[in-house]
């Protein structure tokens, strides 16, 4: 089967929002990545220190798939999604959809996307790509981290879609199946902001939102006791940089993307005061980037004393104070 679907390829800051944006554009709805992120209440923080994780880790956005679910709730856009028991079933379904002219998004392990440079390819099970055709047995991929549509061998795609481990993709695919003709953007944006404020300020779990940031700030000085050796500690501290800057965050732990959203929200809600919130969030992003850089340097230079880790903790605590005030005021501004 040879099939090339005319799909407009776009690069984006983050794979889930970027894939959603290009999927919706294919079906005639232009919705920017940042607007999707904001309406989907994507901004978040969580610090995890429990037996499920070999070492403490953190997240800077809500869980994968939640942004899509929030779009359904707030804009009425419906998605068809499916996981599969076998790779064969998954490939058959993909081929059927392509034959019908539907280019689905699918979840893959980033590592098997062998069109990307070797140094970028790490095992991350929650990467999203669009499959936009098939030619000579190879699939045509629109990956928002790559500048153009590219061919990928069927076996590489299969390995990516059926990688094992935590958050295994199980061939997961999705595509929009219903897009309303009209939207109440004002209501959706307002709800998206309110839910984000709730998640950051009031979610009743001690390691999520602002509470999670403070937990991270307090706990980071314990990391040397938890690491196997200094090499491991250096790797874990370097990961702070990776999680804030590299892993599909668009930089500074999604804070820049949220700043862009708030600028759009100012227009949609006719609330020019949100422009100031956008600027504050941008400055906040700059400070997260400084933390990221400090951690990266410490990891690289093996400069990992408890005093140095405390400095990072103090900077994170400062961000918690800033974001707590920010989300309290933002919540009042959109009431």
């Amino acid at each position: 089967m040879d099939k090339v679907i005319p799909f407009e390829h776009k690069m984006s800051a983050h794979c889930e929002t970027g894939t959603l944006s290009s999927q919706l554009a294919f079906h005639g709805l232009e919705l920017s990545e940042s607007l999707i992120f904001g309406i989907g209440s994507g901004i978040f923080f969580g610090y995890f220190n429990n037996s499920k994780f070999p070492f403490p880790t953190f997240i800077v956005r809500n869980k994968p798939g939640q942004i899509r679910k929030n779009l359904t709730k707030r804009l009425g856009i419906k998605f068809t999604s499916e996981t599969f028991k076998t790779a064969e079933q998954a490939q058959n379904k993909l081929d059927v959809l392509l034959e019908k002219g539907i280019p689905p998004a699918t979840q893959v392990d980033f590592f098997f996307m062998d069109y990307l440079p070797q140094y970028l390819r790490v095992h991350i099970n929650v990467h999203f790509i669009n499959v936009v055709g098939k030619t000579n047995g190879n699939y045509l991929i629109s990956d928002c981290y790559y500048p153009k549509i590219v061919e990928l061998k069927a076996e590489s795609l299969e390995k990516g879609r059926f990688a094992g481990g935590s958050m295994a993709p199980k061939g997961f695919l999705f595509y929009p199946s219903f897009i309303p003709k009209e939207f109440d953007y004002e209501k959706a944006v307002r709800k998206g902001i309110k839910k984000a404020c709730f998640n950051m300020l009031k979610i009743p779990i001690p390691f999520l939102g602002i509470k999670g940031m403070r937990k991270f700030a307090d706990h980071i000085t314990e990391w040397p006791k938890l690491a196997m050796d200094s090499e491991d500690l250096s790797h874990q501290v370097s990961k702070i940089n990776i999680l804030l800057e590299d892993q599909g965050t668009g930089g500074a732990g999604f804070r820049f993307m949220y700043a862009t959203f708030l600028k759009q929200a100012a227009e949609i809600l006719k609330k020019p005061e949100l422009i100031d919130f956008s600027k504050r969030m941008m400055e906040n992003g700059d400070k997260w980037r400084e933390i990221s850089l400090k951690a990266a340097r410490m990891g690289r230079d093996r400069d990992l004393s408890v005093e140095k880790l405390k400095e990072v903790g103090d900077l994170i605590r400062e961000r918690a104070d800033v974001e707590e005030l920010f989300f309290k005021e933002l919540s009042k501004a959109v009431k």
Binding site: M11, S12, P147, D246, G248, T249, G250, T260, D286, R289
Partner: protein
């Protein structure tokens, strides 16, 4: 010296100063050779990349917020110059 050459020299000086490459003469950095792959006279890593993103913001008042685009923009002196020129004009 035309504007473009002047800008490229400023970028090279910024790279050398930001990354403390004291033994590198800025003019020796080649405009169209990748900075991260070992093909230029200097080889940068991802931490250097973040430092350069912040330095571009400080020196030229231009933001580079998208980490994925950053990989392409920081690839060579030429691509940085194109980005800075386009964004200074846009603002």
């Amino acid at each position: 010296m035309d504007e473009s050459k002047d800008l490229k020299l400023r970028i090279k000086q910024m790279i050398v100063e930001t990354l403390n490459l004291n033994d590198v003469d800025p003019v020796e950095i080649i405009d169209d050779k990748p900075l991260f792959s070992g093909e230029n006279i200097i080889t940068l890593d991802s931490i250097d990349g973040i430092e350069l993103i912040m330095a571009i913001q400080r020196n030229f008042g231009v933001r580079l917020d998208d980490q994925n685009l950053a990989r392409n923009i920081l690839e060579t002196v030429n691509s940085m110059a194109e980005f800075i020129t386009a964004n200074i004009k846009a603002s």
